[in-house]
């Protein structure tokens, strides 16, 4: 799948409390969560983000709480992909499990600026900065994780495991 979108830029150690503050966790409705996505880092984000746009961040994106509400909020806000230098491990799992595309690429995380336009080939992990012309290669995912993606996330994968008996 190839996606194309404008970049929203965030720094290092973006925690899940910033992605979706706990004061909104009395619901798990993705639309309600999306309305407060990234609120404590950029109060304008949820209102201004357009479908298909891309988050680029530094190290340890999604650290802190295990709340799956964080990738759910990002996905429901319309974000098509998160590119970061590194991801915190629970966020990484959650993103895969719910089908939010993420890519690890330290170089892109260092160089890409807010407002630039990226084209991303998810299967190849190829990131093209359409604004600067620079091309980046993200870290490839292990085979098992590619299978998870191909299955459509963890739940369909579990369903097929159970059907196989």
């Amino acid at each position: 799948m190839v996606i194309k979108g404008k970049v929203w830029r965030f720094g290092d150690d973006i925690d899940t409390d910033v992605i979706i503050p706990a004061r909104y966790l009395n619901t798990s409705d993705p639309k309600e969560l999306a309305a407060h996505c990234m609120e404590d880092a950029d109060p304008e984000f949820a209102r201004r983000v357009q479908p298909g746009e891309i988050i680029v961040a530094g190290n340890n994106f999604g650290c802190g709480s295990s709340r799956e509400h964080a990738p759910l909020a990002i996905k429901a806000a319309g974000v098509s992909c998160v590119v970061a230098a590194t991801f915190a491990r629970i966020f990484f799992r959650n993103a895969f499990n719910i089908g939010l595309p993420i890519l690890e690429c330290a170089e892109a995380a260092r160089e890409v600026k807010a407002g630039e336009e990226l084209e991303i080939n998810l299967e190849e992990g190829k990131i093209t900065n359409l604004t600067t012309g620079r091309v980046y290669q993200a870290t490839p995912f292990p085979k098992f994780m590619q299978e998870l993606i191909a299955a459509g996330g963890l739940i369909p994968y579990v369903r097929s495991r159970l059907n196989r008996g």
Binding site: L25, E68, V158
Partner: protein, 427 residues
């Protein structure tokens, strides 16, 4: 063939994956001994579980549901979430469902109730599930979808983490405990210093720690990005589980030749109590460097420091003293059992006579839920685990993380204070 040397984390994972050995980086499907969820994460898991389309959970005794975050229900939406968890527990015959009045903060409650033991593999839809590593278990936080899958299959996919060894030697000075050791450690390695890794805590200084201190340290492994934190099993561990643990257990020890991705050694003899400044747990400083910070609130409790040793230490400093007139002290025992024990020991009287409030067990203010939310510009010293932007309330409020001794001393002084400033002082 000679067996490969393994760390205790690797041995537990191998045993649960039905393998002779595992190596860091290897992806495995592992059997789980216990799956945990709370009133925030379980509702999402319950919805996902319904999508799987099975009519039973893999084992009704191996799932724990603990409504502890926004309970007793703080608003209608929270009440609906708690209700959803309660009804799921009834429908699927979940044995370890803990209702308000019998519950506690999940990571204080599960070990206390004997649901976790050495050698176990536990996953929980809560990042601080790593707490049970204090018992020599492999225990890690996952998301709600992982929880749903594990409730159906009794399995979880895991990548075997590399282990990092943290060796602490020397004698701990007075007022320095597990919280100070872990804040100091995170201060040295950073909030992603153990990303994806197992943190193995060893050495004479951790052997000298109480179980409550070890729970505190393992609890905050996630604050360094770790997958799990783990302690060797010793006499203290076995004494703790005696009479509690309801299942058989197995003790695993790291081989002397096991490989570690990194090894750190810390001399704790000169360590001061630590305080982590806003807005990351890695901003640890010796308390003496930050005693000019005036505060509005002190919270003593949470899955990190809501246990008996924490309450006793705080009470020792608060006995006969008064909380500073401009400070609100909120004490939250971790479980009903802890609450009752504190009552019997007279600790609750000490807190109330000092001018503090004592709450029923809840995660409450730690994550900015309820029971002590901060207004714009307010500052709190808290024995909790995170000081992120907006964690305890307004995005412009500030949380300073510390152990119970610093928190209690600060409540008396109205500013961040070294416990020595209050201990033995007539005030």
């Amino acid at each position: 063939m000679r067996m490969m040397a393994m760390t205790m984390t690797e041995k537990i994972l191998a045993a649960h994956a039905g393998k002779e050995e595992v190596k860091p980086g290897e992806l495995i499907n592992a059997r789980v001994d216990l799956v945990l969820g709370n009133d925030i994460t379980a509702p999402v898991a319950i919805k996902e579980f319904a999508r799987i389309g099975v009519d039973k959970v893999f084992d009704p005794e191996a799932i724990a549901l603990v409504p502890d975050h926004f309970t007793p229900n703080k608003d209608i939406k929270s009440a609906e979430q708690a209700k959803m968890v309660r009804e799921f527990a009834q429908k699927y015959g979940i044995v370890n469902y803990f209702e308000v009045g019998r519950m506690g903060i999940e990571h204080c409650l599960l070990p206390e109730q004997g649901l976790v033991g050495p050698g176990d593999l536990v996953i929980g839809a809560d990042s601080h599930t790593c707490t049970y590593g204090a018992l020599g278990a492999f225990s890690t936080g996952v998301g709600s979808t992982d929880m749903a899958a594990a409730m159906a299959l009794g399995e979880v996919w895991l990548k075997v983490p590399p282990s990092i060894r943290f060796h602490y030697y020397g004698t701990l000075p007075p007022w320095v405990g597990g919280k100070d050791l872990i804040l100091y450690t995170i201060g040295r390695i950073g909030v992603d210093g153990a990303l994806y890794s197992a943190m193995e805590f060893t050495g004479e200084a951790v052997a000298a720690l109480t179980m409550d201190d070890r729970f505190t340290m393992a609890n905050m492994a996630i604050e360094a990005g770790a997958k799990n934190g783990i302690f060797p099993v010793d006499e203290k561990t076995l004494t703790y589980i005696e009479g509690r643990l309801k299942r058989s257990y197995k003790v695993y020890a790291s081989d002397p030749e096991a490989e570690y991705a990194k090894e750190y050694e810390f001399d704790v003899s000169q360590l001061e109590p630590q305080v982590a400044l806003p807005h990351l747990p890695e901003n640890a400083r010796p308390v003496s460097q930050v005693t000019d910070v005036r505060i509005d609130q002190v919270v003593i409790g949470s899955c990190t420091n809501g246990r008996m040793k924490d309450l006793r230490e705080a009470a020792q400093l608060l006995k006969g003293k008064q909380v500073h007139p401009e400070v609100r002290l909120i004490v939250i025992p971790g479980t009903q059992e802890i609450y009752l024990q504190a009552l019997k020991e007279g600790l609750i009287s000490i807190f109330i006579e000092a001018g503090g409030v004592v709450s029923t067990p809840t995660c409450g203010p730690c994550l900015g839920g309820h029971m002590g939310i901060l207004a714009r510009g307010e500052k709190a010293v808290a024995t909790t685990n995170r000081n992120f932007v907006g964690r305890m309330g307004h995005p412009e409020s500030e949380v300073y993380l510390a152990g119970p001794a610093v928190a209690a001393a600060s409540a008396v002084k109205g500013r961040i204070a070294h416990p020595e400033e209050v201990a033995g002082d007539g005030n």
